[in-house]
Symmetry: C2
Subunit: 313 residues, 2 copies
Amino acid sequence: MSKAKRLLDILLFVTTKKKFTAQEIADEFHISIRTVHRYILDLSDMGLPIYSEQGRNGGYTVLTSRFLPPILFTEEEAVSIFYAFQSLNYYRNLPFDTEISSVEHKLYSSLQSEAKIKIDKIRSYIAFWNPKRTIDTPLLNDVLKYSIENRNLHIQYESKSGIRNKHIRPIGVYAHDGLWYLPAYDYHKKKILLYRVDRILSILSTEENEDDFMNLKEWFNFIEIKNPIRLHVHLTMEGIRQCKSVPYFEGFVVTQEDGTGYIDTIIDRGELNFITSLFLRLGSHARILEPKELIVGLRKQAEEILTMYQDDN
Amino acid sequence: MSKAKRLLDILLFVTTKKKFTAQEIADEFHISIRTVHRYILDLSDMGLPIYSEQGRNGGYTVLTSRFLPPILFTEEEAVSIFYAFQSLNYYRNLPFDTEISSVEHKLYSSLQSEAKIKIDKIRSYIAFWNPKRTIDTPLLNDVLKYSIENRNLHIQYESKSGIRNKHIRPIGVYAHDGLWYLPAYDYHKKKILLYRVDRILSILSTEENEDDFMNLKEWFNFIEIKNPIRLHVHLTMEGIRQCKSVPYFEGFVVTQEDGTGYIDTIIDRGELNFITSLFLRLGSHARILEPKELIVGLRKQAEEILTMYQDDN
DNA sequence: GTAAAACATGACAAGTAATGACATGATTAA
DNA sequence: TTAATCATGTCATTACTTGTCATGTTTTAC
């Protein structure tokens, strides 16, 4: 076996152990202790932060977190990593911030000038636009950490009705439209609610959980329909166009031969509020057949607006 | 110089050239031809896809794209790369798809089981939610490529008024809310317009451009205000809350001591259409003082809805 | 069809590097 | 004090690397 290969094996071996002696390595790899010492010198020269303690119970300790074996990337692969990082550019308070910039630095500095130009081009020709928010989400990291550790949280939360204490069991966090959301089980209200991480003022305390709970993916698929209600709407051509651009409806729009179309699906009553504003915008491009509540809501909102601006001309 | 170092140098050297002879390497590194042949055998054994052509004008050719020198990542850095890739999960038709999965595979297979668990946890506890669209964007890659190459495009585009041919100069592409957009200069309309990549039916032809044009970043900062108009709105507490959640307004909301607030800013007349639907939703939580056009628009929309549903009760 | 330019491979000697055995010293904890 | 460690040095031996020379093979230009 070549020296390089053996050094690599030892590198991997030692970075997985917090402490070890030269004898252990010698036994493991069937080489002499003298050679182990020489190898360790080599690794140290190569920049591995390893230090030794002499005396009984001494040994070697590797300081940094574990290293992976050296990986050969192609230029295209490096570019793809930059591309992925680009997509994170518009978020604030991201986890792994320091790691991301150190990876970017390691990769960028090992690229040739030609590839650097390509990276720079990608940076200037493609973007993942989430509005660059001024809203700070300082607790994002903590919330993510506690979610992964499967802990319950007592938090101070700023809701519609003021600042409240909540006792919740987090499911996970997700970003949408530049904001971070935390779906979690509320022990007081006894159901899963959606919190905004930027509205969490502080985490008061945490407690461990033994059992497993729902994860994010399950929750995404779950999306409770507790009060099913039929949504039935006729759409003009323009109505179809617009509905197809709305994530929520996109999958339900049916186009007919004459170019018009309809939506006919079951939704949860709790979503009516959200849907109302969509149909306000669509105006006569959408004619709602069901549910009555939605029509009533639309009329109410329309009347509110007319009342409000009745004297303006 | 050690063999390993020299091999690496040669690896880097040869991957930057498409074709070379053993003599060239021998001259470049001042070693004998025989040794070059031996080294090339070594590199080939190490998995470098290199092949030779015999005879006059023969030489060696490296098949794959360029390799970077081997890079040592820490486990945390690898995790951060997975985290970044996670953010791309909900897009379709991404560029660099194959590279992303090969990087994922390379990294994942070199991780220890402990770290693999961490990755899996991150995957299940954090998400970047963009609605998983069924809309296909098959031309995304091409459009991006041509944008980077600074080419003009003749495209077939499906707009409100039907299928049209357009002659455009792309600025770049960006993703927003799960859709891909292409800001580009329209040679016919003589201004910059925003196209949706999924509505580009085909690219008819391209032509090169010599000079530089605007890039995405500049365009984001540019956002033309051609017809400035004052937007002045009073907000209730709830109005403030809601406006702060709207990316577009977020920066302009001013809160007063009594908890109410206002927006007072300059916008472009072209944006009124978009804004109307926001204020339809806000209803009496927002009282518009200026512009008149917006009030007229709201009333018109409200009346349209009342007319539409007048006989329902 | 021959010569030149290239890769392919083998043998061998000379040089260089890596290894193990042994020795010695230093440091630490039991 | 003693045992367990690391640290370093020397030296003979072994293993590897390199250059030189030799011999083939394949391809293309002329």
